[in-house]
């Protein structure tokens, strides 16, 4: 570095500190023309010096800032907060460019891109929107949290008011926690039977306004002490760390001061976060893949953790849940109130720990969609087709291991769609379709499954062609009879590929059989439906079954079974008589006809059934179907263990769980149970 450069660096450092000084003063006195002038001059000197002494990066960057302040000088732009923020950050940015020894060049470049796009946003004249957006806290419009105290006068029930209905109505407005105060209840002797001694405190997060809350109490304004206070904008229940403050405990009032101060702190943080996100969003509009990616990364506040650590966390949580079950059982038997209380407290914590641990491993499908969008774009260019790619339900979350497992099969399916499914623009026109083909990836939850479907509006599959090919390849006998559906299913046979020419994309020997195998590796299933000329849909169903589930522990004869809580709709008690006398396995409960399966019969369990049995309504597609068991033990957190070899073909059981006392309970996959018995009964 020669002397001149050194000299420039010193001078530039001085200029930067002058800049900071001027900015601080300008902040106090926005729009002071003298200060604007001096800032403009500083930029000008930096730009000139930078260009002269070979610091082109500084020269280029300050050029933009100079432009911005020039517009202010000409009164075409007003000084805004965002502008000051940018300039402050620019000062830091310029110093880091001055001090860069080459090690941080990448980082500086990224930062510069962000700042540039923010400057551009201002120069484009939408500085207003940036400022206003930055100022607003990210909350759902109108969603706010309130504190409501309802203290009825003793006589309130005398004119027919039931205060509980009012509390119900209030709670119905949104999400709420209710504290009940019993302390005013007098001794039994002095208790008047229909006087009211109880009062309530409610924390309510609702989209309704304060008038709607007041409306709840319109009839009892004179019969109650009502206090309504707004605590904060947004849903206090969603604030991190607020939970302990919102625990319902009888006779202990909510600590409003703490709740409000925590809410304020959190909102201030949120606001700061939103501002960063907004600034990032402003940049995203400007396009440029690189910036987009960076903006996204910089707004995700998180850390990277090695997968093995997560796996070991999950294992430990599983162990904890099993141990917990043992403790619960022991506490129950010991009939020691203190022990029971501790066991329950611990169970509550381990449940939350489990949920948190699980949520760590969940990744939204969006993670894959970005890659797929790129893939479809590149592939369609390569084969000269016009294809639009749409993704629905990208927010659906899947376990990390499933995301990894599903990525490759989906890639193959998309390749097939681009290569074989969608026709060329000319072919499409000839068939009377829009020249642009469309591939849709949609993901959604269905019961305990995640469905991912890839649909194209291409030429569809020709069952006849597939059949011929299969015969040619010796996969089926020449005289085999099969329906079109069966013919299309042949594409999953190993070694099948209909592509008459091998292209660069698919048809490289990796066929649908591989897709099928990969999907079943992660316990999923894949199916295809295709309409000649209309398009093809490939559907992958994945079990959402995580290794620990909330289940309902039930018994039939002396055996325990677990039904996942997620599929249970309602439970009714029924007389055995009613089941025996039912016709065609349909039972009438409260005026509704439900089909049901009697597990004692289906499992061929000998012995006498109890007089009263329980019928559990489980969700099956869009219906409810009953499953009859002897009795219900209760809710149970089940750690799923895979079943041994002997059970491999019993897919009605998704696993087994070891109960607190060491016995084994089989976990029923109700979907498969219903499927299997339906088929069996239809025969």
């Amino acid at each position: 570095m020669d002397n001149f450069q050194k000299k420039f660096l010193d001078e530039a450092s001085d200029l930067v500190s002058q800049l900071e000084q001027a900015l601080l003063t300008l902040e106090q006195d926005m729009g002071n023309p003298e200060l604007v002038d001096s800032i403009f001059r500083i930029m000008h000197s930096l730009k000139g010096g930078g260009g002269m002494f070979g610091f082109d990066n500084i020269s280029n960057y300050t050029h933009r800032l100079e432009n911005m302040y020039d517009l202010v000088r000409q009164k075409k732009l007003k000084v805004t907060r965002e502008m000051l923020d940018i300039t402050f950050e620019s000062a830091d940015h310029i110093s880091s460019m001055l001090n860069d020894d080459g090690s941080k060049t990448e980082e500086i470049k990224k930062n510069e891109e962000i700042l540039n796009s923010r400057i551009e946003a201002i120069l484009d004249g939408d500085s207003m929107s940036v400022v206003t957006v930055g100022d607003s806290v990210e909350v759902k419009p109108g969603l706010a949290s309130y504190y409501v105290k309802v203290k009825p006068y003793e006589h309130i029930q005398r004119n027919g008011t039931n205060p509980l209905l009012l509390i119900d109505e209030l709670v119905g407005l949104g999400r709420a926690k209710v504290n009940i105060f019993y302390s005013n209840i007098p001794d039994f002797e002095s208790l008047v039977f229909d006087d009211t001694y109880i009062w309530w405190e409610v924390i309510l997060a609702t989209e309704s306004d304060i008038d709607a809350i007041k409306d709840v109490f319109i009839f009892v304004e004179d019969d109650c002490e009502i206090v309504i206070k707004k605590l904060a904008d947004g849903d206090v229940f969603s604030f991190d760390g607020i939970e302990p403050l919102l625990q319902c405990s009888h006779d202990f009032p909510f600590d409003l001061e703490k709740i409000t101060s925590l809410a304020n702190t959190i909102q201030a943080l949120e606001k700061a976060k939103t501002e960063t996100a907004q600034a990032a969003a402003a940049k995203e509009d400007k396009g440029d893949e690189h910036i987009k990616k960076f903006a996204k990364e910089s707004t995700i506040s998180g850390i990277r953790v090695a997968s093995e650590k997560i796996d070991s966390l999950m294992n430990l949580v599983s162990e904890l849940i099993t141990t917990q079950a043992g403790l619960n059982l022991y506490a129950d038997r010991a009939k020691n109130a203190e022990l029971t209380r501790i066991a329950e407290g611990l169970e509550n914590i381990s449940r939350q720990l489990r949920d948190t641990a699980f949520s760590i491993t969940l990744i939204p499908i969006d993670y894959l969609v970005v890659r797929f969008r790129r893939l479809v774009r590149d592939l369609s260019r390569e084969v000269g087709k016009e294809i639009e790619f749409e993704a629905r339900g990208a927010e659906v979350e899947l376990d990390k291991s499933l995301i990894e497992g599903i990525s490759e099969p989906l890639m193959h399916i998309l390749r097939n769609s681009v290569d074989h499914g969608i026709e060329t623009a000319a072919e499409r026109k000839a068939a009377g379709k829009s020249p642009t083909g469309k591939i849709t990836l949609s993901a959604y939850y269905s019961g305990s499954q995640v469905i991912i479907a890839v649909t194209d509006d291409g030429q569809g599959m020709n069952p006849e062609k597939i059949r011929r090919k299969a015969i040619e390849k010796g996969l089926v006998a020449p005289d085999a009879q099969m329906s079109d559906k069966e013919a299309i299913d042949l594409i999953f046979m190993p070694g099948f590929s209909t592509s008459e020419k091998v292209t660069n994309i698919s048809g490289r020997g990796v066929g649908m059989d591989v897709v099928k195998r990969k999907v079943s590796d992660i316990r999923g299933t894949v199916s295809v439906s295709s309409e000649l000329g209309e398009g093809t849909t490939i559907t992958i169903s994945l079990p959402l079954t995580l290794s620990i589930i909330d289940g309902m522990l039930v018994r039939i004869a002396d055996v325990d079974y677990i039904i996942p809580l997620s599929v249970i709709d309602t439970i009714f008690a029924v007389e055995h008589e009613k089941i025996v006398s039912s016709f065609q396995n349909v039972i009438n409960i409260e005026g509704v006809q439900y089909p049901f399966y009697y597990l004692r019969d289906e499992f061929a369990i000998p012995g006498d059934a109890p007089e009263r049995e329980e019928i559990i309504m489980v969700k099956y597609e869009d219906r409810k179907i009953g499953i009859v068991v002897d009795n219900i033990t209760g809710e149970y957190q089940a750690v799923l263990k895979p079943l041994g070899k002997l059970y491999r073909n019993q897919d009605i059981f998704s696993g087994a769980s070891i109960l607190g006392d060491g016995t084994v309970a089989l976990v029923l996959d109700t979907h498969k149970v219903i499927n299997q018995f339906t088929r069996y009964n239809d025969l």
Binding site: R158, N159, L166, E169, I218
Partner: protein
Amino acid sequence: MAKTILIVDDSESIREVVNFTLQTAGFEVYAAGNGKEAVELLDGRVIDLVITDLHMPEMDGIELIKYIRATAGYNRVPILFLTTESQLAKKIEAKDAGATGWIIKPFVPAKLLAAISKVIR
């Protein structure tokens, strides 16, 4: 079991509209043309809610409310009265007599049901 509502109003059209709305919503409905008829109708029947007009011949709404509050077996039954926005003094009188709440005329079915849901369920 369906909740039972007694509607008391001297206007037949109001009785019918309320009757229709309530029956559609699944309530069992009795109707009376004035306070006196209402008192006769009570006669030991289980009534979960009374909706009454205030101005009626023979026995008006205020008298009916007072009667109900003073009658064993009915004294805790919720009572809603029908009123117009302007009748503030009447409203206070009715509340003092023991009414639970009110419904402002004219009303649409949704408003009627909303008021009812505040006092019985």
